[in-house]
């Protein structure tokens, strides 16, 4: 079965050159898209086209190549903004979600967080949405607090609201967990956090690649995402915010492009978003991200989401039949992203990954950059299978067979 009700996967797989590859003589079954997604030919072509036809620095040179490169880069910005319901002046290109949260830490946090302030995040966060706030809290004498989770892997809203009573300066949380798959009710959480006077940051690393997202409707002050998880190149991502909020912030990195005028004793800043894009930007990969967005739009994000819900449902049903299978996160597929974290008996996730790799199956194993969540789950590590548009039921079946094999090797 290579079609879900939403996507004709067979047709679409031809767009991804890597899927022709064999691993240990087997068809590549790539189930690690939450770590990084594979790239369609259209994205690769956009990079090749840029470097073969109009590579040039942007915003600087008035020659033809420079103008073409600038236009393409700014068009990519407009696409990246529209894709999440934002406007180009509020979109800063960064390396990825991690640089986005750190930019907020440096450019907003250093200015706005004071001694005694409370910062709030949750127990399900990726390290990139924890460590910057830890560092900020330490520098400023503020306190970082974690909203707890309910047994089903959703955020404990009572606990969240209790923390809001402490009038936090910043409330930061994921739109979708990279381990549990939990899709948080970010609309409600942003509304509540803003009502408490907090500035909000939503980590969209696992949502933007997989479902329609409208930052304006969500009401987040900051929204971050990574290009490489949404079929785009490595090295590019976005921080989205209201223009006025960006204008209020101090610069982050200093250098070319972000300045208006430089004197010996001071400098003045360029308009946003350029103020936050110091030095030569990652031109090619921004353009590549634009091509990835075009590709996703052509499929339709509603369809992508529906496809993944179908797969997830099938996966939870199918895999739970494997001996020793135990998965984490909400049981309702409508409430989670296309991610299945699990353990298999006492088989360590790394051993499982090795056994599966031999079958051509790529899953992720480890702490998934979410050690506090691992401790909450009371496990050292989990295995994780995650989906994108090129996955179908056959991949789930392959995984099930792999789990059975591992179970038999380990005599579960």
């Amino acid at each position: 079965m290579l079609k879900t009700e939403a996507i004709d996967v067979q047709k679409l797989r031809a767009d991804f050159p890597i899927l022709k590859r064999k691993v240990h003589g087997k068809r590549l079954v790539y189930l690690d898209s939450a770590a990084t997604a594979q790239k369609p030919q259209a994205v690769i072509d956009a990079l090749v086209d840029y470097y073969s036809r109009y590579n040039s620095n942007v915003h600087r040179s008035v020659h033809t190549l420079g103008e073409e490169a600038t236009e393409a880069y700014e068009e990519a910005r407009a696409k990246a903004a529209r894709f999440v319901g934002s406007s180009p002046k509020g979109l800063v290109f960064v390396r990825g979600t991690t640089e986005a949260t750190n930019l907020v830490k440096f450019a907003w946090g250093e200015k706005n967080v004071k001694k005694g302030d409370v910062l709030v995040t949750t127990l399900m966060e990726h390290h990139s949405n924890i460590v910057p706030w830890q560092l900020l809290a330490k520098e400023k004498g503020a306190t970082l607090k974690f909203a707890g989770l309910l047994p089903d892997g959703t955020i404990d809203m009572a606990d969240f609201e209790k923390l809001l009573k402490e009038s936090p300066r910043l409330v930061a949380f994921a739109h979708c967990s990279n381990v549990l798959g939990t899709i948080n009710d970010v609309h409600a959480m942003c509304a509540k956090a803003r009502a408490s006077g907090a500035t909000t940051l939503v980590d969209g690393a696992q949502s933007v690649p997989h479902m329609p997202v409208d930052v304006g409707a969500i009401g987040a002050d900051f929204y971050a995402y990574s290009g490489h998880k949404m079929l785009g190149p490595t090295g590019i991502g976005a921080l989205v915010a209201k223009k006025e909020l960006l204008e209020d912030m101090d610069p982050f990195q200093g250098g070319g492009e972000m300045i208006r005028e430089v004197f010996l004793d001071h400098a003045t800043w360029n308009d946003v978003p350029y103020k936050f894009e110091a030095g030569t930007v990652n031109i090619a990969d921004a353009i590549g991200l634009g091509a990835a967005i075009d590709y996703l739009n052509a499929i339709g994000m509603e369809k992508v989401r529906e496809h993944e819900v179908r797969l997830l449902k099938y996966a939870l049903e199918t895999l739970s039949k494997a001996k020793g299978f135990h998965s984490y996160g909400p049981s309702d597929p409508q409430k989670r992203g296309g991610v299945v974290s699990f353990n298999l008996g006492d088989v360590h996730p790394h051993d499982l990954a090795t056994i599966l790799d031999e079958e051509g199956i790529a899953i992720r194993s480890g702490h998934h950059c979410a050690q506090p969540l691992m401790r909450w789950l009371n496990v050292a590590a989990t295995s994780r299978a995650s989906f994108h548009v090129y996955n179908s039921y056959d991949d789930v079946d392959a995984l099930k067979a792999g789990l059975d094999k591992a179970g038999s090797i380990f005599r579960l």
Partner: protein, 137 residues
């Protein structure tokens, strides 16, 4: 259109002998902007006369032939006009004034910098805010 046409006699003449270049002793409007990407820089000062008209106007600054000539020609065009006239001014008007040169996107900014500064000043005086629609992104 070739560069020889773009830089025709008239533009060079305005570049080398700009009309209305300098500062006003008394003025009601004083606006200024820089193109951060190329460093072009234009200031405009206006004395407002009866019936809210542009009684006196001067520009100052530095930059390429296109930005300087465009600003200078614009001051000539604007002199004596009512302030409201500035609101209706469009980039097409500027291109026409310059003889419809074939400019790439970055040089278009040079051509339009004078208009942008004029609009910033006049809108401000009229209590409005001018947002450049061509500001990338």
């Amino acid at each position: 259109m070739s560069s020889a046409d773009i830089y025709r006699e008239l533009i060079l003449d305005y570049y080398r002998s700009p009309r209305n270049f300098g500062k006003l002793e008394k003025f009601d409007i004083d606006a200024h902007d820089t193109n951060p990407l190329c460093g072009d820089d234009i200031g405009m000062q206006i004395r407002v006369g009866v019936g809210r008209s542009i009684e006196e106007i001067k520009f100052s600054g530095k930059g390429c032939a296109i930005s300087q000539a465009s600003a200078s020609m614009l001051t000539e065009l604007a002199k004596g006009k009512p302030l409201e006239w500035v609101k209706q001014l469009s980039k097409e008007d500027i291109f026409k004034m310059l003889g419809d040169p074939d400019l790439g996107p970055s040089r278009v900014k040079c051509a339009l910098l004078g208009m942008k500064v004029l609009k910033m000043g006049v809108y401000g005086y009229l209590g409005a805010h001018y947002e450049d629609p061509d500001d990338t992104p």
